[in-house]
Structures are given as C-alpha cells and as structure tokens.
Symmetry: C2
Subunit: 203 residues, 2 copies
C-alpha cells in the first residue's frame, strides 16, 4: 500500500505547474476559505491545444460548471471531468488578473504580475508565455451575472475552509494553477491554495 499523496501548498500570490497523465486526479483545496485558484491546462502532446472556456460553456449550456461536468479543449476534446465539488461555484468568463488589470481597475502604479504572470512563469518550462494564457477556470471565484442587464460582479468566494474540487485528467496535461492575487476575488485576504495529485494506478 502506498502512502497517501502529499498535500502541496501554493504560497499567496504565486503559481505552480504539474504534469498529469490520463486518469490522474488533481484535488484543489481552499485551506482557509474565500480564496480563488485560477487554473489552466495544455495538452502535453501539443501545447497548441488548451483549456477553452467558450467550448466548455457551449457544450454544458451553462456558465457555472460543477460535479459531473466536463472541461473541454479548443479542439473539443475533454481535458477534465469534475468528479467532486464541495463548493459548487466557480467562474469561467474572466481572464486571470494581470499587471495591466491591476493598473486599470485597482489603480496600482506598477501592477503586480497577477495570476496571468504567475501562470506564465509556472508554464515557462513548457515554452508557454503570457500571450497564450487563456480565460482560466477560476476555481472558487464567485462571479454573478444579472440576467436582465448582463452586468457582472465579483463577490467573495462561497468556499469555506477545506472546500475542494476534484478533477480527473482525460489526456496527458500540463496544468498550472495559482493562489489568486486579486483582492476583489478573495475578499482581500490573499491566502494560499493547497493541492494534491492522486496518480492513476499504473497499467
């Protein structure tokens, strides 16, 4: 019997990347509550294939994905299945926070790298730069939409301490994720994010 896989911690305002094989499960955990993790993924066989919000929303016919839903690539192939979800509310419409976003929306003179910069830094070993960071699957991010006006609002996450989402990889992937840097997304708490990779039994 192998030891339980270790929980790893993503420090506040930073990012990490991991490789997954088909069948591996990634558990993303909000250890303290009210924190967001922007997640994106690329096919390891060809990094021109990436996680696509627009495809996933189209195929699910809903903005908010949860247990049982699939996350698709730009090539319409399943990248992940959501196996468990104790929070139930995530965003898939907004780009990761970025240097320019902090300057524009938060009035920072010299914006911080944000999730976009942290995802790109984590993905640099795979040759993936900032221009190629798409709309992420923003785990635990609570974005509301007014169905009459289309107005969107970023509210504090609904996640409490220990809430998690479990994703099964449906192809060989490189996955990057963050502990979010945007105050509005995490109720100005800038906490860490935990994750655990559970490897599929080999052959």
């Amino acid at each position: 019997m192998s030891a339980a896989p270790a929980v790893e911690r993503i420090a506040p305002c930073s990012g990490r990347a991991v490789e997954l094989d088909t069948g591996d499960e990634l558990v993303v955990i909000d250890p303290m509550g009210q924190q967001v993790s922007d997640l994106t993924a690329f096919s390891r066989d060809d990094t021109n294939e990436y996680l696509s919000s627009g495809r996933s929303i189209d195929y699910a016919s809903k903005l908010w994905l949860t247990r049982g839903d699939l996350l698709y690539s730009n090539r319409s192939r399943a990248m992940f299945t959501i196996l468990e979800d104790t929070c139930g509310r995530h965003d898939f419409t907004l780009t990761p926070c970025s240097k320019e976003m902090f300057e524009r929306l938060y009035g920072e003179v010299e914006g911080r790298p944000g999730c976009e910069g942290n995802l790109a830094a984590a993905l640099a070993p795979w040759g993936i730069g900032r221009d190629r960071i798409p709309i992420a699957f923003n785990i635990f991010m609570n974005v509301t939409v007014d169905g009459e006006t289309g107005k969107v609002a970023v509210l504090p996450p609904l996640s409490g301490p220990g809430d998690f989402i479990r994703l099964r990889a449906e192809m060989p992937l490189v996955v990057a994720m963050t502990a979010c840097s945007a105050g509005q997304s995490n109720n100005f708490s800038y906490k860490p994010i935990d994750f655990r990779v559970e490897r599929a039994p080999s052959g």
Copy 2:
C-alpha cells in the same frame, strides 16, 4: 469628394478578412435580419495579440457590450470602440461554431467547417490557424443567461433588416468575420452578412 465606400457581402456560411488601420471604421450589417456574424481580430504588428472576450468583459463589468464600450486585446489594449449599435445585443462568451460542435450538438455525421473553420480560412494569409481562433465577438448573437442557475440559451437574434454595428479600429488590425453557419444562432435562416469599411482621412 470621394465616392461612398462600397458595401460588400459575405455569402451565407462563409467568412472574410480585411485589414484596418487606426481610425478606420468597420460597419457590420445584418441585411435581412436574424443573422449572426462572428468577428475576431489580431494586431497586424504582432498577431500574438488578439481580441480577448475575458479582458473586455472584465473591464466593462458586463457580458453584453454596446455603443461606447471598448473591445480589448489579451494585452489589455483597446482594439475597437463601438461607435454605433442599432441592435444592442451581441454575445462574447461562446466559441465560434465548429466542425466538432456540429457533430456534437447538432448530430451532423461530418460537421461543416462552421465559423471557426471559415475564420481560419479567411486568416490563413496572415498565418493564423484554427487553434488560434478565440472566443469571437458574436455580433447580433442573442445568448441569454439565467442569473440564478447560470444556464445559457441561444435564441434568435434581435436584429432586424438593416441593423448594424459600427466599430472604430484603435490599432492596425486584421479582422475576420463570418455569416454564421449555426442554425440555432440565426433561427435556421443561413443568410448573408454585409459590411463596409470607411477609411480614416489620411494624414
């Protein structure tokens, strides 16, 4: 005095690309009503800079953009200003219809190229392939969102014959647009789309 610029027609289920310089205005017209045009754009100075739905929605804090709103690139620079809009309802959340989407959602055995394929074909002279077609600005596409459940629905466009949107280019662009191939988006009418380019007065 120069002659009025000609109106050009995009045949049903096809696409076109045009180059715009800063200040040029592109008028996209629904000649018969209830037709959709998926539009995307890339910076001519560096085609790694592209029209970003996620940035545009984030900066506008609303899903549905109209007169006075800006459309942003992935690098957070303004690509277009919407100068006029006689319809008022467009989508910016769904990927263009594609071969795989027709097979998956419409049950076609061999899916048609769709707006994705037609945009890629139109952009081929600029070296832009299908993997790089992002979520488009889906002009006249009427997608509703249930603010309680997040459920999205594609309804017939609200555009009538002659409705149009006028976009001013804010940087040198290559713009591609379609007459949409998806029955659900155009109420199963598969009509053409017209457009007109009004060049900025030269220096």
